[in-house]
């Protein structure tokens, strides 16, 4: 291809989403080429939805050559389980669902056990699942703009045999060259959408018709207000306190987790453009609706990650 008039006509400036997409696809393919047994951690949220879509694009017409792993807490919204099963079918990927047997046995739940709930179902559950199947690389949908300690985490993030993260001892990442060689017992967390922001995610979902859980769109739903959070009564396991009565409100969720831990926002945004509009006009950050970041001050997430939280 010489520099001539014809070639110049074909040149184009890639948009920010095109550059982000190409980078993510490159990362996904590198892992598949170099890891022995990769897996995609699928949490059913919007970031997972985009990550899954990118994986399908990266390997098309093959289905992504790795399974989806859902480390479940049994406390997700019902609509999340529906979408999870549908996406596994549509993508032609194997879906692995893991429940920490100890958490299950002890009946760990977010109402009675607070922080232990996240710790046992998610942090411990994830470690157990990775050990059980022997996955050496796990894709996660974390973004660097979510939280300060994420901003410094590499795209290929190494974990010790006990799944700990050492922020002081990270491998330098240059150009688009990723060193996927690991020591015995080590595993890699790979974050293909590290460089996406919340707005990028929404725009991409909008432009690509990426399927997401309907809970992101506003609808009339039964809610109670508790500790300054609007909680949705998703099933009859929700223990109502004396005097509490579910109230129908037009709500939606900016982030999805376990329904008893995830605060809704009152909203009328029923379309993606309306959601994006609301996101842009809002004045609070995304994870504020989640209880998990509030422990241990500004260093809460970093501490959790050192202990093995994704």
């Amino acid at each position: 291809m010489q520099i001539n008039g014809e070639a110049m006509l074909d040149s184009k400036r890639l948009t920010h989403l095109e550059r982000l997409e190409a980078e993510s696809i490159h990362i996904l393919r590198e892992v598949v080429a170099e890891a022995e047994k990769p897996v995609m951690l699928y949490s059913v949220g919007k970031d997972s939805a985009v990550m899954l879509h990118l994986a399908r694009k990266a390997f098309y017409p093959s289905p992504p050559p790795f399974p989806l792993l859902h480390v479940d807490t049994t406390w997700k919204f019902r609509a999340m389980y529906d979408l999870r099963d549908r996406m596994a079918r549509e993508s032609g990927m194997e879906l692995l669902v893991y429940h920490n047997p100890e958490a299950q046995e002890r009946g760990i739940n977010p109402f009675d056990h607070g922080a232990l709930h996240t710790d046992m179902w998610k942090t411990e559950g994830l470690k157990q699942a990775l050990n059980l199947y022997g996955f050496d690389a796990a894709f996660g949908g974390a973004r660097r703009d979510e939280e300060k300690s994420r901003a410094k985490e590499r795209i290929f993030s190494f974990r010790t045999a006990s799944h700990g993260w050492d922020p002081k001892n990270q491998r330098p990442e240059l150009w688009n060259l990723y060193n996927a060689k690991k020591n015995k017992g080590e595993s890699i967390r790979v974050f293909p959408i590290s460089n996406w922001t919340e707005l990028d995610i929404w725009q991409y979902i909008h432009l690509n018709d990426v399927p997401i859980v309907p809970l992101y769109f506003a609808a009339e739903r039964p809610t109670v207000e508790r500790d300054g959070m609007l909680l949705m009564v998703d099933d009859d396991r929700f223990p109502l306190k004396d005097g509490e009565e579910p109230v129908m409100r037009s709500i939606r969720f900016r982030t999805l987790g376990c329904y008893p831990l995830t605060g809704a926002v009152e909203s009328k945004a029923r379309t993606l453009p309306e959601i994006i509009q609301e996101t842009l006009l809002t004045t609070t950050s995304e994870r504020q609706g989640r209880a998990i970041d509030k422990d241990a001050g500004g260093a809460g997430m970093e501490k959790k990650k050192q202990e093995g939280y994704f």
């Binding site: 291809m1 040149s11 948009t15 190409a22 696809i25 490159h26 491998r171 922001t197 725009q203 018709d209």
Partner: protein, 647 residues
Amino acid sequence: MSDADVIYKTDALIAEDIDQYLEVHQHKTMLRFITCGSVDDGKSTLIGRLLYDSKMIFEDQLAALESDSRKVGTQGQEIDFALLVDGLAAEREQGITIDVAYRFFATEKRKFIVADTPGHEQYTRNMVTGASTADLAVILIDARKGVLTQTRRHSYLAHLIGIRNIVLAVNKMDLVDYSQEIFDTIVGEYTDFANSIGISSFTAIPISGFKGDNITGLSDHTPWYGGPALMEHLETVEVDQVSDQEKPFRMAVQWVNRPNLDFRGFSGQIATGIVKVGDAVRVLPSGKTSTIARIVTMPGGAGPASGSGGDGDLDTAVAGQSVTLCFADEVDCSRGDVIAAADNPPQAADQFEATIVWMADEEMLPGRPYWLKLGTQTVTATIQQPKYQVNVNTMEHLAAKTLDLNAIGIANLATDRQIVFEPYERNRTLGGFILIDKITNATVAAGMLHFSLRRAQNVHWQATDVSREFHAGLKNQRPAVLWFTGLSGAGKSTIANIVEKKLARMNRHTFLLDGDNVRHGLNKDLGFTDADRVENIRRVGEVARLMTDAGLVVITAFISPFRAEREMVRQMMQPGEFIEVHIDTPLADAEARDVKGLYKKARSGELKNFTGIDSPYEPPEDPEIRIDTTTLTAEQAAEEIVRRLIP
């Protein structure tokens, strides 16, 4: 906050017409940049300011920021923007940034990714890491201090990694009363330095990150400055992506996509150039050619990467895109190969000169094998002792035996097999590499290839205590290579065999390397193309050289048709040890003898590339010994050769 109007005006559009807003933002481009400066230059404050002014800070974060500012801030009662940026707990306690962190903000024209890199000397590796993906570098200078050692260091590193867009942000102008004179002096001093290291242009902007001057709009405090404001410059500067598309097409193959027997695609991210359906391409290093039959991406959705409104297949794809290519023919191609424009392919080589940035605590070991990853190729590489190390503060070249943490040096390296490459300055993807320690698996260095070395400029030799002179002395002889050359059937093997017997009877330690025999073993992977003939001779030459090191008299019997390769072997040997013996037989005589029946086969076309028939023989112009087989018998010829060797 009047300066922020430029950014805030988009807010109205969000509220009034979100579809219009999305349409605008769908066409945004992206700029990745790094900020370089020391702890005191106000780097974190500037980034915090950019985030704040582009409305990337939410109320809850702002509330936390205000409370943190009062608790641990360094700006009294005012907001300490740096606290937005300094992430990890340990750093917050120390009040410094110690790693590479990435920040994001956007305006209506662009999305920005900022690599925030520290200014401490011991963290060269972090800056090189952050710079490797950057389109632009912002070099921060404290207006009160001017051009410092670290300014030179940051500029050198940015230039080294190939960043062509440099912004000199003269910060803290509020603390020097917005003095034009001070600004001009700093710019003048910087210009001299920049020119001296090869930076041909840069954009200097007087700013105050703390007060917000000339960040999002031009400041009333600097009426003498005509612009642009920092944000305006970042929004409009041209990125390298466009010039990358003007280069010849190259794509490193990451993964072969083979869902069933009917589909075989090669997936990768296009490094440079443009590819279209119907383009002729060449697969490197094999050199096989084909034509692009399809450029595949997933159908469905009006995806940004589809480019054609939801169709999966593309007509054209450009540098930066991740695609899957299908060929019109069955051509071998796998991970590590490079697909390139057929008429303008890159080269493959196994010896290079490179710049190496050492990034590990453990120093570099010349001669130790490391993994080298370049594009999608991973090979074993050994590095020679550096030619020199660069002092990043003074740009002086220093002698060095090794490189330690954060050292930058120039060295030759050799790979265990050929890799497809281009000089880094032409192609970051095919010229940039990392080195990985084979034991710890750590990334120990980054490097940039300059050029490949010619074969003769060889890798450093391991010194041995038992010298070649000692070997030769033990055998009481002078090592030599009797290099027989001539047409097939000239009598090379026959004569060589008699020569060896005569030498053996004279108690000489000899070894005969015969063409046919070597092709059964060492060179059985080689055919009879010109390239393979060259490689055949190169290998035999290397073996012969090792044998002369061992003190032997080596006799070789190969057609060795090309002068260049015989000359190459001559250059490998010690002066006087290479003795070229031309077994000179007219083609007609050799063909008439045809002891192996090969000429007959060649004439009938059954045998291709036969020397003298359809492949050339270049006779020696001035051989040490010339044997005319039309006048001498084999025995007489051998007698003559031994007499010349041992008078």
